[in-house]
Amino acid sequence: MTSGAARYFAMAQKELLELVRSFKLLWVPLVFVLLGIMQPVSMYYMPLILEKAGNMPVGSVIEIPMPLGAEVLAQTLQQFGTLGLLVLVLAGMGTVSAERNSGAAALILVKPVSSFSYIASKWTSLLLLAWGSLTAGYLSSWYYTSLLIGEVDASRVLGSLLVYGLWLSFALALTLLFSTLLRSPAAAAFSALGASAALSLLAGVFPKQAGWLPGSLSGFAYQIASSGSAGSDRFGWSLACTAAAIAGSLLLAGQSLKRSASVD
C-alpha cells in the first residue's frame, strides 16, 4: 500500500468513526426507513384515513383504486427526493466548513496529507451514509409494499435504487463542494439544495433539451420503478454527465482547499 493510500484510509476510518460517534449513522437511515415504510402504509390505509378524518357526509362511499406496487415505490423515491435529500444535505453541510471554522482542519492539513485525499475521505463517508440510508429505506418500503399492496420485480427495485443513489451522490458532491467553497454550513446547504432543485426543475420543464442533465436522474429512477425502463435515449448521457459532474465537483473542492488551506 502506498503511503498516500494509507493516509486516505486513516482519514476515511476517522470519518466513519465520526459518523458512528455523532449518531449520524443511526438517525439518517432511521429517517429513510420511516419515510420508506410510511408510503405503502399510508397508501394502504388511505380510504380508512379519509373516512375517519374527512368531513364526509354520513353514508358517502369512498372508492379509491389501490395503486400498483411499482407506483408506490416510485412515490417512495419522491419522498426520498424531498425530505430524505434535505436530511442528507443537512447532515453533510458542515463536513468541511465546520472543521475549517473550528481550526481542526488546519491541524490536519499541515500534516503531509494531500487536500484531495482529505476531500476523498469526506466523500467516502457521505457516500456510505447516503447509500446505506437509501438502501435501508428503499428495501423496507419494498417489503411493506409487497406485504400490503403487491409484489414488485427485484430488477426494477435494484435498477431504480442504483439510479436514485447516483442522484443522491451527485447532490452530496455538490454539498461537499459548497461546504468547501463557503464558510457557512447553512449557505452550503442552501446552495446545494437550490442547485439540485434547479437542475430537477430544468429537467422536468425541458425534458428534451435538458434530459441529459443530472437533474433528470430522479425522473428516470421513478420511470424505472414504475415501468421497468428509463424510456429515454438520454438516460445514458445523463448517467455519464452526472459521473463527470461528481468528479468535477470533487476535484474543484480539492483544488480550492489546496489553495486556501490557510483559512481556519
Binding site: S3, A6, R7, A10, M11, K14, L17, E18, R21, S22, S102, G103, A104, A106, L107, I108, L109, V110, K111, P112, V113, A261, S262, D264
Partner: protein, 320 residues
C-alpha cells in the same frame, strides 16, 4: 558553529493592500530554541503560518538547508506545528487523536499506537489518554497539541503563542515541557510575552510591523544593548513631582542647568512617582543628579543604579 536548519529569505506577505510581513530574513540553526518576539499584529503568526505551509507567501522563500542546498516547499514532513488555540475533534480520545496524527504522517498503525502512548506519557496525559478531548482543559489541550506535533519526530517544532491563552498553571506546565523538548529538537516559537522568551530561548528574533527589528543570541543581545540607568523613586508630593516634570522638560528642550548633564543623561522618563534616567556614565551622572536633588530639596525615597532589561530594549525597539 551550529548547523543551519531552516533558511527564510526575503519573506513577505500582503493581504489585499495590507502588508503583514515585509521582507524578513533569518536563519535557524539546528538544536537552537528560537523565539519570534513582537507585539500583537507584528506579523508573528503570519510568519509562523507561512513556515508551517498553511499560508502562501507573496514573495521570498522558506527552505530547509540540506548541506549547501536550500530546499523549497515540501516541508510539511519535517515540521511539527501547533497553532495558538489548537482545535481537535472533541469526540475523539486523546490517544485516538495522536494515533491518527501519526498515521497521517505515514506511520504504520502499530507504530503510531506505540509512539502515541510514549508521547502522551511524555506530556503527562497518560491518565487522560482514554478520555474524550472535549473534556480536556486548556493546558491539557496544549500538551496534546505538543504530542501530536511531535509524533513524526519533526526536525523543527513550530509553535504559535504556545502559552498565551493559558492560565498560570497551564502556562507553567507547558513551559516546563518545552524546557525539556528543546534539548531534543529545534524549536521556533512566537510570543509577545518577553519573560517566556527569556526563560526558554537561545536566540530571539524581534519583529515589529512586519520587519525584523533585532535578532541574535539572547545573551549577546543582553550584554550588547545593556545600558546603565538610574532610577529614582520620589515621594508623591507636589514639589518633587513638579521637579521631575521640569527636569524632563528641560532635558527635552536641551536647556539643562549644566551643559554637562545634557551629555551624561540622554533620556528621562517618568511613570508615576518613579523617574528613569538613561545615562552614559553612572558615576558622573549620579553625582550631578544628587547635587541637583539636594539643591532642589527633592524628596527621594529610593535611588537605584542598574542596567536596562531586555524588556526596555524590547519596548524601545517596537516603539520605533
Amino acid at each position: 558553529m551550529s548547523v543551519p536548519l531552516l533558511e527564510v529569505n526575503g519573506l513577505s506577505k500582503t493581504f489585499g493592500s495590507v502588508q503583514a510581513v515585509g521582507g524578513i530574513d533569518f536563519l535557524i540553526c539546528e538544536g537552537r530554541c528560537v523565539a519570534l518576539l513582537g507585539p500583537n499584529g507584528a506579523g508573528k503568526t503570519t510568519t509562523i503560518r507561512i513556515i508551517a505551509g498553511l499560508l502562501k507567501q507573496s514573495a521570498g522563500t522558506v527552505g530547509f538547508v540540506d548541506g549547501d542546498h536550500v530546499g523549497t516547499g515540501g516541508n510539511r514532513a519535517m515540521i511539527g506545528y501547533l497553532p495558538q488555540a489548537p482545535s481537535f475533534y472533541n469526540w475523539m480520545t486523546g490517544l485516538e487523536y495522536v494515533v491518527y496524527a501519526g498515521r497521517l504522517c505515514g506511520l504504520p498503525r502499530s507504530h503510531a499506537v506505540s509512539r502515541a502512548k510514549e508521547l502522551l506519557e511524555r506530556v503527562g496525559l497518560n491518565a487522560a489518554a482514554k478520555r474524550r478531548i472535549g473534556s480536556y482543559s486548556g493546558g491539557m489541550k496544549q500538551r496534546l497539541g505538543l504530542a501530536q506535533a511531535l509524533v513524526h519526530r519533526p526536525k523543527l517544532l513550530v509553535l504559535d503563542e504556545p502559552v498565551s491563552a493559558l492560565d498560570p498553571i497551564g502556562r507553567r506546565e507547558v513551559l516546563e515541557l518545552l524546557q525539556e523538548l528543546k534539548r531534543e529538537t529545534t524549536v521556533l516559537f512566537s510570543t509577545h510575552v518577553l519573560p517566556d522568551a527569556e526563560e526558554l530561548c537561545d536566540d530571539v528574533i524581534i519583529i515589529n510591523k512586519g520587519a525584523i527589528a533585532l535578532q541574535g543570541n539572547i545573551a549577546e543581545i543582553r550584554s550588547r544593548y545593556r545600558q546603565p540607568v538610574i532610577e529614582l523613586e520620589l515621594e508623591r508630593d507636589e514639589p518633587s513631582l513638579k521637579w521631575a516634570d521640569a527636569f524632563a522638560e528641560r532635558h527635552r528642550s536641551g536647556t539643562n542647568v549644566s551643559s554637562q548633564t545634557a551629555g551624561l543623561i540622554y533620556d528621562v522618563s517618568r511613570q508615576g512617582a518613579s523617574v528613569r534616567f538613561s545615562v552614559t556614565e553612572v558615576d558622573a551622572a549620579r553625582e550631578q543628579l544628587l547635587g541637583e536633588l539636594a539643591a532642589e530639596k527633592v524628596r527621594v525615597s529610593r535611588l537605584q543604579v542598574g542596567y536596562t532589561s531586555l524588556e526596555d530594549l524590547f519596548m524601545k525597539v517596537v516603539s520605533l
